[in-house]
Symmetry: D2
Subunit: 266 residues, 4 copies
């Protein structure tokens, strides 16, 4: 689509559009359909290459783990608030997405950067003879000095987040936990040893370690979480628009689940 005269065309490396042909990072989109899953395609969009079988399975499980967390997260509340005024689906969804930031969803990126800092400390420790537990102590005291909490640990509702164990188990099964997951669990153990505190790894921490294992850039972490959460937000918006009265007061606490009772996966 360039023009011979006039300014130089600007460049994009993602998708090539020709008449009756669409190629994403060189692959024909119509050939990808049916051969590669949507999760594999998410990997392709984030990295520019297709995942290995295990990488693809891992990313799929990570997406599933983040798809919804009920009506209490701020992104759901903002989306419901907008929907209750009569917003179209995409307007309410945008309001939800605009509520996924540093303090909601953002712990993933922060955890990734924390693990990268720990790795730098460890790399620098080789010469100085400092061992792993000293490196952990160094990191912990850094965060303490800056008055920051260690991200990726603890949850406002869950003690033993069922998603975390599942994520780490699959990482092990797929051979995708040897670097950053190991670092994260090492950090958890190191903190417990030096402070006595048992900080449970949360889903943000586990996702963070796994995104690093998959080689995905930390600045994409929030977008990854958004991709996973969009179907959940859409479901809540749909429920609000089809069942609730407009302009109702949306109490962030006083609600109950009245859906399908507990059941087993077929």
């Amino acid at each position: 689509m360039s023009e011979n005269n006039g300014p130089k065309p600007w460049e994009t490396k993602i998708t090539e559009i020709k008449k009756d042909e669409i190629r994403i990072h060189g692959y024909r989109l119509d050939e990808l359909m049916g051969k590669r899953s949507f999760s594999d395609m998410v990997f392709l969009m984030l990295k520019g290459q297709l995942p290995s079988e295990n990488e693809g399975k891992m990313l799929d499980i990570m997406l599933v783990s983040c798809i919804d967390h009920g009506v209490t997260p701020p992104s759901a509340l903002a989306a419901l608030t907008s929907a209750s005024t009569g917003a179209p689906y995409n307007g309410a969804l945008a309001a939800g997405i605009l509520s996924i930031n540093e303090h909601h969803g953002g712990a993933i990126e922060n955890s990734m950067r924390m693990l990268m800092e720990l790795q730098v400390i460890l790399d620098n420790s080789k010469d100085s003879g400092r061992d792993f537990s000293e490196a952990v102590n160094h990191l912990v005291s850094q965060y303490k000095d800056q008055n920051r909490r260690l991200p990726g640990f603890g949850h406002r509702i869950h003690k033993n987040d069922p998603r975390t164990a599942k994520l780490l188990d699959f990482a092990d099964e797929f051979g995708l936990g040897n670097t950053w997951v190991r670092l994260l669990t090492g950090l958890k153990d190191g903190v417990q040893k030096s402070t006595g505190k048992d900080l449970p790894i949360n889903v943000d921490g586990a996702i963070a370690a796994l995104l690093l294992e998959l080689g995905i850039a930390p600045e994409l972490a929030n977008s990854f979480f958004i991709m996973a959460r969009v179907p959940g937000l859409v479901a809540h918006i749909h429920e609000e628009k089809t069942i609730q009265k407009p302009m109702r007061r949306i109490d962030p606490v006083n609600h109950i689940y009245t859906g399908t009772p507990e059941r087993d996966i077929p």
Copy 2:
């Protein structure tokens, strides 16, 4: 999470959150991880039930087909424009999503409603002895009278959209094209017979027929398209933020693809 005193709690039927337990429509989320794909979960969020194997595969292929269409769609251009001013990823993404409306993405919902109108005409025709081609003519003249184009046919770039054929082939293979896909292809043939015009079914039309086959509500069509397109938009935003200069003029025409050359899927 209800309170005994005070106002009645409001109800949600999507997700149940208890300490260390998350259930979506009754299924434990940690058990869904690894057993059901993210596309199956999208189906669950949109319908409240898990798909059959073929329904799940079909939805996955539909999501893949819509994941990206380069830099020319308005959603990409709005996202790039926002990103080029220094917006965070979620802000630029929201700008993109706010550009998916009636005239971009919206053809899916319109096509669904058109097919439903045709079905109503056919249902009403049984008594009157009107046949399929008469029903098609009735629909076409209705649209003509209202000065509306038939949605789901034709594309500003593609003549034979490679995604359409693939979608319809898979529908056939999975036994998911017997009602609405048949109606759509019948409509196409009927139009050609009565007007001589060969209107190619486009990807919106194919997705529309398939969403109806899967029993997904027409008002969710735009959200479905957004779910599928978010990873593509994120990729474009990432490219803009990492490669381009801020506040550049984003020419909607004068750009070229400089990424990985044509290659086969491994």
Copy 3:
């Protein structure tokens, strides 16, 4: 900024930008500065012409009347929810604006359309000899048949909204209430006469009649309300970001005003 070769330039009638010269609807912007108030400029942007002195004063008072209504409107709650997750100001503001729709702010446009419907009924009544009270009854029964409430009357908090009386008084003072304001008060009286119900005109109804008096298109009503409310939303976002803890639960009911006590305007 046109080019001689290539496609025809597209046209805009709002603002002309030349080197060292900015003209809005033909007026030099630097000459407008200090000569015309911001409210006059709002009028110019909405209508393409400058207001008379009284029109300008009226629009200014209307903007003031809508600038804020505390933390309970959905637009404020959505903006606070987004801000509490760490959104930048413009992200939280966008979330707020996306919550100004049919059921919040939208009553202005609906009231405008209702008054226009009443005017049509009256115009059609001239021939049929129907009088004003018959026209009112006709409108009221139309709304009843369609199961719609008459917009522009009543408020979830106020009985005698102090803003309404002020708006109508100024309309009278400025000679700007002779058509649509008269119609609105006539409608109120007519309803009371025929049903016995005393429906107080609310601020939306008063603004609606006045926008019609000023000749502003109904489809701009929501945007007018947004223009007026943006400073209020920004103030709430600023308070949230500077005073509150991140990710707090924002109760839509349980809050108190702890600001400057009642005082007189200097």
Copy 4:
């Protein structure tokens, strides 16, 4: 609106809502109507107090100066792109606002922070005997070292931005240029003396100095710009929706002004 039992209410200091009474920072809103202009109210929302007469006039002129800059700014292009797909007014407006960030509009906050840095350098210079020109050189070399341009100078279109001179003249007339405006013009002169370059102060720089003179916090600068620009964006969205065809290609360069010819302010 507090409850006796249950959690402590959260606090807001902006607006008090009682039945039939609305007070903003202690003032009755209905009494403000007609007594204080909308620009005065903007000042009240940003600062918590009403402006002096000259402060109010100055802020009004600042708002007017930023109300529109035609179709080329990214905020206008994003809003038009969204509107052209059929977005409602508030959706298109949100897309525009999400395109006002560091590199568009953001120069105001950056200029404020630069002036504050210069003031700190000057304050520290008192002891060291460093004079103004040395302080300027110190600032300039700091920016050079960090590879940053001095914000608030130069414009991609204007050499002598007509808005800047007007803003600085009024500041002088109102006695509101004695601290930060003086610093800004001193900086401009200092740069010219030491480098020979004549950097024209742009509208962002002038607005920055004036917001500091008015005591408005730098983190509110972007929101101030947005408040001023919203009416302009709404006008462009309205034009797009009423005059242009959906899904058109919006060329950021090839457009012409076809509105009212040059005229004098009545």
